[in-house]
Subunit: 471 residues, 2 copies
């Protein structure tokens, strides 16, 4: 596939797919769907790349189903694109070579909770919110929160993280083990249920973040956390991004175990005010959340307030009641929708990079200046405790020149992140859009990834056209 | 190599090794050593497997050196065994097929500290204690503490952890990125310096724990932690292992962020008293360490004390002064030497397993009963917050029957850990001794590991005879 193919629908259909669909119909009957609507819904993308539909959608309800789909597709050389909720941001569920979208959303059971061990076993299609709703009575929760109500299988496959990662880590840190169906139909369990292990290569971490290109996840064993006794959320305004970033660095240096610490720049705050009707000053803000005992979070809040004040920040406006807290984080999580108010009718394209936190303020300042110069509306929000930030570009995707300018901007943003020894994506993944930047970032290491891909999926049937640039 | 080969010295020399040594002499001169003493020191093992010496030792002082050694060995098909301090516990530095021991201990520089980013870049030969001594003025420290003063490269290669892992994680969690020389001489950097990334396959985690079989680590970028404001250590006695384990589970459920929580069973305590002249009751004890603010650790200690009392534990004897604390943890870390007092003249063979914490008390009780029945002296110490425990077998390795009984015991211990859905090694690694159990534990997944090994090291020159059983 060439880079130009990215802009086309279904640019590279594979010969074997029709025969695979016929065989799947014999096995799955009306769980094989080929209507345009359902296919389009499974190939959507949130990027400027057009919808590249699969040729059919199959709904799996068991590991045996997944294995059968893989064996049929392997026999015919047909692509398989695993699908959870479709909330990924770099075109992961697009099907540039057609084939089968393997929908796992009906495999959504919480299979086992081991409360004493702080872990649970789930099917891949269960969503983050459904999991936490079902866990509530146990006093435990699963902390990773990418904003969208994504499926856990998808979150593992894309190594998702989000607002809580500064405290609880990413999917990398919170998956104990996986069951995976490989491209040749073998079913492997990557680890037992022990909290740690030194037994052989870390296949769990190899699968987490492999974006459906090495295997289809059919079961996950996840670490859980105790629901904190007390939660305190608040918003603190700053005169500029630099003082907010300095506050974040000093907060972490001081050992304050913030559960979330999120930056919204002035433009992002304006959008949040307009969309969420939330009472905020029109300047960059940090949204903060603290977890601990009642006394602990109060002490943390006081300490944070002192650091913020030293850096010129305003008072931490604390949302004490659960509803106020929910409203605050809803405003943060609704940012995608809020950003659309900045340019009605435009499409919001979210991209992300991550840099060492000491470089964050500089990287954001240069990025804001770049957007101004390029005439792009580009509000910034960020998981600043991790050095990770998102730029949301409001563009009219019907205007080729706007797409070109957005692409050029994203290319410069990626190069800038690499210049600061960061990564071209902190949490969205490579997917289709960032394949070229991956090579810029890791060089020869990408060829090692290719060797592993070639070894485990020699026909390239698992999510082709993702992660790796055309050779 | 067959299992019987394990018991022999240099069972499988490789043809190409003499020519490789000749070529290395031309390149490295007197940094190539072939005397028996230095070779023996590099092939030693702490297991019942005899010393299997390399044919030569080469001291590397740069990445270019490492690359040259690898290229020479690749050209001649000679084995390369990376060597740090030789403190690994499963025969990782033994050379069953002879070849070159590549000693990295002279590559011991702290290259860069990024204090604001809580990370540092080091060469692989620097030891844990040397690193922390050099970091002291920065207010930061590297938390992973396996007991031995191991090299960081070796700790990464074996996915080491130890007493602090319950709070700070293992090497898996604390390596940001690596530079690695592959079997064909390619040099790859696995990740940039950002705290998190979603850019492609997680080669960092693939290399961590690969035991020198996939590449030679030449540089590490590590996460650091702030030195806590206050540290509180103490010892708490319990009537039995079960009540100690219940205390650990409840402590973690209560969200007390213990930095260390270590179990010594009654036999281990007797050894510690005899060797370290430490004042302890003759019953199972938990050694505890708490990190935080002054008020924070006091609150944590009080809370822990309540939980311990509810489970029949005694009073937490707090070591407030730094010297008392050091003495306490020295007693814990000297356990290996202390165990030798239980049977003067015997060799101490340490093995480890890790199980879900809810299964820990049962697994330990069955293991103690098994040791009694087998007539083995087998004190138990454990990183119980992680469900990880060590059994140290005091045996006379000159008596074949004792070795057989130890092997049988370890086999039963591994099966028991798997029965409880645990792992045959929580932190020591597979090395030579646990290769068979790896297959018991992960089945088909081991073949996936083999495929990756075969792809990246088709000549099997990197640490042959480790991790994988003979096919």
């Amino acid at each position: 596939m060439t880079l130009a193919d990215l802009k086309r629908e279904n640019p590279r259909p594979r010969e074997g797919t029709p025969a695979a669909i016929q065989a799947l119909r014999a096995r799955f009957g009306d769980r094989v769907l080929t209507g345009a609507d359902v296919r389009r819904a499974h190939g959507h993308t949130t990027t400027y790349i057009p919808n590249q539909m699969p040729d059919a959608v199959v709904y799996a309800t068991s590991e045996a189903d997944v294995r059968d789909v893989v064996l049929v597709c392997a026999a015919h050389g047909a692509p398989i694109v695993a699908f959870g909720t479709g909330s990924s941001l770099e075109g992961h569920v697009n099907a540039p070579e057609g084939g089968i979208s393997l929908d796992l959303s009906r495999m959504d059971k919480l299979l086992q909770v081991n409360a004493e061990d702080f872990d649970c076993t789930i099917e891949p299609g269960i969503t983050r919110e459904a999991l936490n709703a079902q866990l509530r009575d146990t006093g435990l929760f699963f902390p990773i929160d990418p904003g969208a109500n994504a499926s856990l299988g998808g979150m593992a496959a894309t190594r998702a993280s989000g607002t809580n990662a500064v405290r609880y880590g990413t999917m990398r840190d919170n998956v104990i083990g996986l069951t995976v169906v490989l491209a040749d139909g073998r079913v492997v369990r990557t680890a037992r249920r022990a909290k740690k292990t030194a037994a052989g290569y870390d296949l769990t971490r190899l699968m987490v973040g492999s974006e459906g290109t090495l295997g289809i996840i059919t079961q996950l064993n996840l670490r859980l956390q105790g629901i904190p006794e007390a939660i305190l959320s608040g918003v603190c305004p700053f005169p500029d991004v630099d003082s907010a970033c300095r506050t974040v660095i000093q907060t972490i240096q001081a050992g304050i175990p913030v559960a979330r610490i999120e930056l919204l720049d002035a433009l992002a705050i304006s959008a949040a005010i307009a969309y969420s009707k939330i009472d905020l000053p029109h300047s960059p803000c940090l949204f903060v959340e603290l977890h601990g005992s009642e006394a602990g979070v109060a002490e943390q809040a006081e300490f944070f307030g002192m650091i913020a004040a030293e850096n010129g920040g305003g008072t931490l406006a604390v949302a004490t009641r659960a509803e106020e807290r929910a409203q605050l984080w809803k405003a943060r999580h609704d940012f995608y929708w809020a950003s659309l108010t900045l340019r009605p009718g435009a499409k919001a394209i979210a991209t992300d990079v991550c840099v060492p936190i000491s470089q964050l303020a500089d990287c954001i300042a240069q990025t804001q200046a770049d957007a101004d110069e390029a005439g792009l509306i580009a509000p910034i929000v960020g998981h600043v405790g991790d050095g990770n930030f998102h730029v949301t570009l409001l563009i009219d995707t019907d205007v080729p020149d706007e797409i070109d300018r957005a692409e050029d901007f994203i290319a410069r943003l990626s190069r800038r992140a690499l210049h600061f020894d960061g990564t071209c994506t902190g949490e969205h993944g490579i997917g289709q859009g960032k394949r070229g930047y991956l090579t810029d970032e890791l060089g020869e290491a990408v060829n090692v990834m290719r060797q592993i891909k070639q070894t485990l999926d020699p026909q390239n049937i698992l999510n082709p056209g993702k992660i790796f640039s055309p050779v």
